[in-house]
Symmetry: C2
Subunit: 230 residues, 2 copies
């Protein structure tokens, strides 16, 4: 929990620590600092200070600031993709899969609260890091399969799996990535009313998704009536 330290000054001497502890401390520092501030907003010195490690070790162990950033980024994306794999369990039907989808997202944000921020920041950046593209595609594939399975089982109406994906992931990412900003703004007195809790939002979104995906015609006519079948 506390600040990881790979080497420390004690009295007058310098104690050396495990090099793997150094790497780990730097990765932890990156995981904490990069989501705030973004890549440009964090200096090597910031990272070294938080890790309790010498500046030069960033270049030594990761080949530079970018290397440290990418290493953390990839591990986070891989972890998210891995968690979502539980959605495709053996005997789980589509509705249960959807529940697991939300559970996986909740679990991720519980253990890595600023993953959504990191995620979003990377998507907003000029060029997505090639190393994480496979994980990204894997994440998309999960919701895609979920939508298709629901359709096959008759649990969901037919929707474009990609639209389904963006509606779900977009709302979740936005909410969780901006959660910190809300809390800060709330404490600074900029927001004069209570904000929803993450649990409430996840529950709401799950409810809306189930209702929105329920088979059958829309309870309200759309503007233009179409023929019998599309």
């Amino acid at each position: 929990m506390g600040t990881s330290v790979a080497s420390r000054r004690s009295g007058k001497g310098t104690e050396k620590r495990d090099p793997v502890a150094t790497r780990r401390a730097l990765l932890e520092a990156g995981a904490h600092l990069f989501p705030l501030g973004g890549f440009d907003g964090v200096s090597i010195e910031d990272l070294a200070d938080r890790a309790g490690v010498n500046k030069a070790l960033v270049s030594y162990h990761f080949g530079g600031k970018r290397g440290l950033y990418v290493a953390g980024l990839e591990s986070a994306f891989a972890e998210m993709a891995g968690r979502l794999r539980a959605v495709d369990g053996e005997g789980v039907d589509a509705r249960e899969g959807l529940r697991r989808f939300f559970q996986a997202f909740e679990a991720m944000t519980r253990e890595r609260p600023d993953f959504p921020t990191l995620f979003l920041r990377e998507l907003l950046s000029s060029g997505i890091e090639p190393a994480v593209v496979p994980h990204l595609l894997e994440i998309v594939a999960v919701s895609r399969r979920l939508a298709e399975r629901g359709r096959r089982e008759g649990a969901f109406r037919r929707v474009d799996p990609l639209l389904f994906h963006f509606g779900l992931v977009g709302a979740l990412c936005f909410f969780f990535a901006t959660e910190g900003a809300r809390q800060r703004a709330r404490m600074a007195g900029q927001i004069p009313f209570e904000m929803p809790t993450p649990q409430a939002f996840v529950h709401y979104l799950e409810d809306m998704t189930l209702r929105g995906l329920a088979p059958g015609p829309s309870p309200t006519r759309t503007r233009k009536r179409k023929g019998a079948r599309s």
Copy 2:
């Protein structure tokens, strides 16, 4: 459309232009560059070059890079808030209000395609610019009133207006803010399949929202059954 130029070199001399043209050119440059790259990712020289203007004029007219950024930010937020005000028209019922809500968002992204990116970047930043907080609250208030009106008119079931707001705005912002990244990744061959169009997504989200808000019990039982009425 082309690069705005407030002053230009012709042959050997230097022609002076309207100072308001200078300001305008710089604001346009900021509106284009800040969404990409973010505040840290854009240098004063980048801005001046794109505006066809001298570096020093940024400080002269806006008191520094931050001043130019905030000026553009505030005008964008104000414009979005203004567009959303149409949702609260005189004789519009809730369902029509929701339609206008999506229309306003679509219109905004048509004329200022990278507003969602700017918006999201600001929400992710360490501290939200105080100057835009009022506009932010106004935007929240629109969806809040929309949800409450729908409830009052019997068109929507009862939902927490703030959850409604985040579900809607979150999904829209995410999709549009990452649209550029998708196109880039697609062209770079990182994505091997077609991506949904903005129109398709907006239509999908509107449909899902109407279905999700339709009065009546959820077509699927939730895990815990509650009493007859809440």
